[in-house]
Symmetry: C2
Subunit: 354 residues, 2 copies
């Protein structure tokens, strides 16, 4: 059972990690437990959790609806009301049992309740295991912008049990795989090669462990996103804009689906900026479009995306700064990009994706 320990928190991965949670709960004295989950994790994961940690039988369960729409200020207010009504004090613990929506929301709610109480993450989706539950970014969507309100707040601990993946639908598995491919592309050439060679259907536990340790090493160097951590945003400037554009509509995309499109479009930006060779452009296009089910964005113009791109936290009012890859396994950041270049990259994407 691999464990990553830092001064402030630990990440435990492996099918035995819920027994680590059990000893964590017996070592740390909390005044009360609150489990945040959605209708799916309530049904499929909560019984497993309580079976492994019987003390959580007395926890207060707070259920939200699954989906990005729950990352709202209204839902935060509901949760804070529940906590207050239940007299949750500074020594209460919030347990986020779910995917990225649950950990983003639950992390934010915890980090400002009584000026911050402890929370732990138990990711149940591949996306949350490989990416969202680690790194200390929390947030909710506001005024149409993703993660417009949020904090940097580390979970007290993260317990990653890959056996929860057994209940995950295929589309959600691919959603998480997108971030795994991204971390390989920005940080580890040999992991990228391994993904190309063995394909997506590898042992999920190993993929998750590898992704977490790569991300963790980057976050440790730059916890507040001022420098090197920005490489984790590869694919996300465009990806977030696409995701925000479709948010709430019938064509709503999962985060990872938008990020795959974002990576492809931004790969062409890197090529235009002469950071990336044509061979690598072709290699990345072939690989991502082979593994993922990508559709062209024929109903979108670049002008639809620009307001969202300008509102991205990484950008200033006047300058667009992107994280772009130089080759598989190497990424640079704060590269200025123009609207014209984005338009060209979008056209290339639409022409080369069927």
């Amino acid at each position: 059972m691999p464990t990553i320990k830092t001064k402030h928190y630990s990440i435990v991965t492996g099918t035995n990690s819920l027994s680590s949670l059990k000893s964590f709960l017996s070592k740390n004295k909390f005044s009360a437990y609150f489990i945040l989950c959605d209708e799916n994790t309530l049904l499929y994961c909560l019984p497993t959790l309580i079976f492994a940690c019987p003390v959580l039988g007395k926890a207060e369960v707070i259920e939200i609806e699954s989906g990005e729409e729950s990352k709202s200020l209204e839902i935060c207010a509901n949760i804070w009301e529940t906590l207050t009504e239940n007299k949750a004090d500074k020594n209460a613990l919030i347990i986020n049992l779910g995917g990225g929506v649950v950990s983003d929301l639950g992390g934010f709610v915890s980090s400002v309740y009584k000026r911050g109480i402890d929370f732990i993450n138990i990711p149940t989706s591949l996306l949350a295991m490989a990416d969202a539950s680690v790194g200390g970014k929390t947030g909710i969507d506001f005024a149409g912008l993703k993660n417009n309100i949020g904090t940097f707040a580390q979970a007290k601990s993260v317990f990653v049990d890959p056996s929860f993946l057994a209940t995950l639908p295929e589309r959600h598995y691919m959603n998480g795989l997108a971030e795994i491919y991204k971390i390989a592309l920005v940080a580890d050439a040999s992991f990228w090669k391994q993904l190309q060679k063995a394909g997506p259907n590898q042992n999920a536990e190993k993929l998750v462990s590898k992704s977490i340790s790569l991300k963790h090493a980057i976050v440790l160097k730059d916890p507040f996103d001022k420098g090197i951590r920005k490489i984790l945003n590869f694919g996300h400037s465009i990806g977030h804009a696409i995701e925000s554009y479709f948010l709430g509509s019938e064509q709503a995309l999962l985060h990872g689906e938008a990020v795959v499109m974002g990576m492809l479009i931004e790969t062409h930006l890197a090529f235009q900026k002469k950071l990336l060779s044509k061979e690598h452009l072709v290699e990345i296009y072939n690989e991502l479009s082979f593994v993922f089910d990508v559709k062209p964005l024929t109903t979108i113009n670049v002008s639809d995306l620009m307001p969202f791109i300008y509102n991205d936290k990484k950008n200033s009012k006047t300058q667009l700064l992107f994280s772009l890859i130089k080759k598989p396994g190497a990424c640079t950041f704060d590269v200025p990009v123009t609207e014209k270049q984005i338009e060209k990259a979008l056209a290339f994407f639409n022409a080369h994706i069927q």
Copy 2:
């Protein structure tokens, strides 16, 4: 012009501090300025500020209603909407121009917008100068509890110009003086003696400077309120409960008015716990009731206050822990107290205050 500098921020005090602000603004490049004020500071302080720093003429002004009711989630949402509409990015600066309500609210809003943008405090009330604008606690009231939601977030800088006090009504001046007497009582016997000797009508600039440096030294030792900083809560366990009880009613109290009552009641608790001598009990009762206009709490029973005391961030569900003074200038914390003892202290207060 005395300046306190730390690794993360500086506090400038004196009638010349707005010229320090001017050079601060020219040294730091912000993408946009937002000034948060209420109807009073808009009228009495904003012109002075813009006169001293003409660059702020182009700032977006966000006006809230004065009073504790503005420390609400609804007002936060309004401000975040204004920031988003104005495309405020991560490099925007929020300028909190006002009393404790403005800095508590503005600090919180800033600390979670885009996961945190810079803010500075320009306190305009004695309470904010001596206490609220320094120390990094932000917060809003929620579900009937003061500062139930908030963060620890340091202002980038604090500029304290005592000439703003000229426009402050007497009742609000006394409100701030309460925290000055408190800091003397918990941390500095000679400051307490000086207050006793010279009375409340001393040079405000000196009182403010002394209070800030005393508070600052304590906050530096314990920024997150885990230990010694708790002595700053003397008078506040009961004081906050009284303030919360009357919140929104016609008898609503100013923070400092409730804190004076809280200090008196908690002084008797210290006496009951044999931490404080009878002589000091009498000395503190005489001094505070002479300086401040304190009324007995005849309409309140201890049972009215208990729910608020239990919900205090310092307390757990099962144990009440108070910060109690041992003598003027010395305070201890985490002292267990019972409801019976609080009842007795309240009865003593009502019997000895006319």
